[in-house]
Symmetry: C2
Subunit: 340 residues, 2 copies
């Protein structure tokens, strides 16, 4: 990406092992993230551009001399953050704060929207999948890179358990998979706030019991109407813009939890007596340590219990990635999968 | 209080039973709260003034016809919020959000800095104490009205358990009792940020293992130094001013919790990627439902396991209450107890 709206496909040097803990992975599927639309709207122009993409599944091509758990030919899922798997944060399940970790597409690490990528801390980062996995499962496996684990993080840190009532704000891939995750964790009532009918229909299939298409004050009033005036105990905020935060504050019940996984496009927000403090609202969430959740969520994907890959509704080649960005930006595609 | 800095003792009508669920309580001890200093600094002048005080212990003088659990002569503790004890919020232990509850010193309800007060929802609100309790326990019993329960709320909602490391911001009564509460809940390391040596000395006796007197960036750096650069997993914010919030964000470990019980004197604050979101920090807390904690904390007060009443370091008569405000405002008194 060379600037806002300017996505180009370039031929670059093949990735190589640079550290003994590296692996090189040939990418089988990658995709475009809702969060990629933030730079797509606002990235300042640069002559060199920046690689893009942080979600991929692929096959290990080569490993460094210190890599012990992976070998060429292994089929792997990569989380959107790489991590050593051994530091205290990793052991606690907060791999996004790994002491030797980082994020794709920066600091000399390539992006996932490519044919191949160098993976640092390969033992800690990559999760091996049975090599004979059917290609029909690729989309769902790919959601474990980010959007499914992110939706799950929202629901888990939000404290969803059996019988919880939940509002999910946002009908993008993360919002829909927050619905799926809340359902998996036992939520009883799941109100999905979104205004794209095809998406909210999928949300209903994932477990939403109610859909509110109104936004702002009208949307808040609609959720309050559905909940006897109280709002829901848990709110999962999967957008990241200020109006979504305001909606979250508007629909959360006293004593409840707002769990954010939409990357905030603001720094300051209302947290005082009139918003969070007075009614004892908890604000939680952050970038999901999806690496912590892959082991837990993978079995349900492999045995077909869940089909999170349904969030992909468009397939493009690597050359068509710029068109994929456009489609997601114009909301003609929910989430675009890329076959390099 | 007739305006900022203007506290007067007035003769008013005796409180009377107005609802069948009321009681009238003759006050045995009341006190001045750190939070009373906020209006003491900023209350606009009014001709009628407003009653003050929300912490008291006393003896029931009269009960309404619907009151079933109390009788004249009962010795009682009053939480700083009154509540019916039967609604869903009360049953969940969030009495500050009671559907038929409220706060002292407003809407026709008197304040605790008085000789007697009408108590709405008396069955739900008041907690009976053995009538022969020794007067030496009055100060500690009085802390159950607010500051002890508030410190406990901070520690509990902050998730303090055995072995947790904690920073407490603020060496007022609530901060010191947050230290005591964290210790009771099993915290291993408790860093107290405060700069009044007599107070932080009491904090050490309550369980603080370290004291940091520096504030702002210097204070944050000192806590980071003490914690290998990481900060502590739990931060209890017992002040309510923006610099205290900023300190909390500065000293909390990735994945940690900031629990606020200082009434925020701001509405907006930093919560974006660079403060709370990126490191997966949880922000929680609010007005403490102290009614929920009295049953739990009372036995330790009655049997002398804890002595939270040590936060009182000055006793005044009702006539001397204006002087009590001055002393607390000038920090010559930590917390002032009133003997009407």
């Amino acid at each position: 990406m060379y600037g806002a709206g300017d996505v180009r496909i370039e031929t670059v040097r093949d990735p190589e092992i640079m550290q003994p803990t590296d692996a090189v992975v040939r990418i089988v599927r990658t995709c475009i993230c809702g969060s990629d639309l933030h730079p797509y709207h606002s990235l300042p122009s640069t002559p060199g551009g920046t690689p893009m993409g942080h979600e991929f599944i692929g096959v290990v091509e080569e490993v460094g001399s210190d890599v012990t758990t992976l070998a060429p030919g292994d089929f792997v899922i990569a989380p959107f953050a790489w991590s050593d798997g051994t530091c205290d944060f990793c052991r606690e399940g907060l791999q996004t704060s790994c002491r030797h970790g980082g994020f794709w597409a920066g600091n000399g690490i390539g992006g996932g929207q490519a044919e191949a990528v160098r993976v640092p801390q390969a033992d800690g980062t990559l999760v091996k999948v049975p090599a004979d996995v059917d290609a029909s499962l690729y989309p769902s496996l790919l959601t474990l890179s980010d959007v499914y684990g992110t939706g799950y993080h929202a629901a888990l840190t939000g404290g969803v358990t059996a019988g919880t009532d939940v509002t999910v704000i946002g009908d993008g891939a993360v919002g829909l998979l927050a619905v799926l995750s809340a359902k998996q964790l036992g939520a009883e009532r799941i109100i999905l706030m979104g205004r794209h009918e095809a998406r909210t229909d999928l949300g209903r299939e994932f477990g939403a019991t109610d859909v509110v298409s109104a936004r702002g004050e009208e949307g808040v009033a609609a959720v309050r109407d559905l909940t006897g005036g109280d709002g829901t105990r848990v709110v999962l905020e999967a957008v990241g813009h200020m109006p979504a935060y305001e909606q979250a504050v508007g629909v959360v019940r006293h004593g409840g939890v707002i769990s954010r996984v939409g990357v905030p496009q603001y720094e300051e927000a209302a947290v005082g007596f009139g918003s969070l403090f007075g009614p004892n609202i908890t604000l939680t969430g952050g970038p999901a340590p999806v690496r912590a959740y892959i082991d837990r969520l993978l079995p349900g994907v492999l045995d077909g219990t869940v089909d999170p890959g349904r969030v992909f509704d468009r397939t493009v080649s690597l050359e068509e990635v710029p068109e994929g960005y456009r489609a997601m930006d114009e909301r003609t595609a929910l989430k675009v999968i890329v076959e390099p």
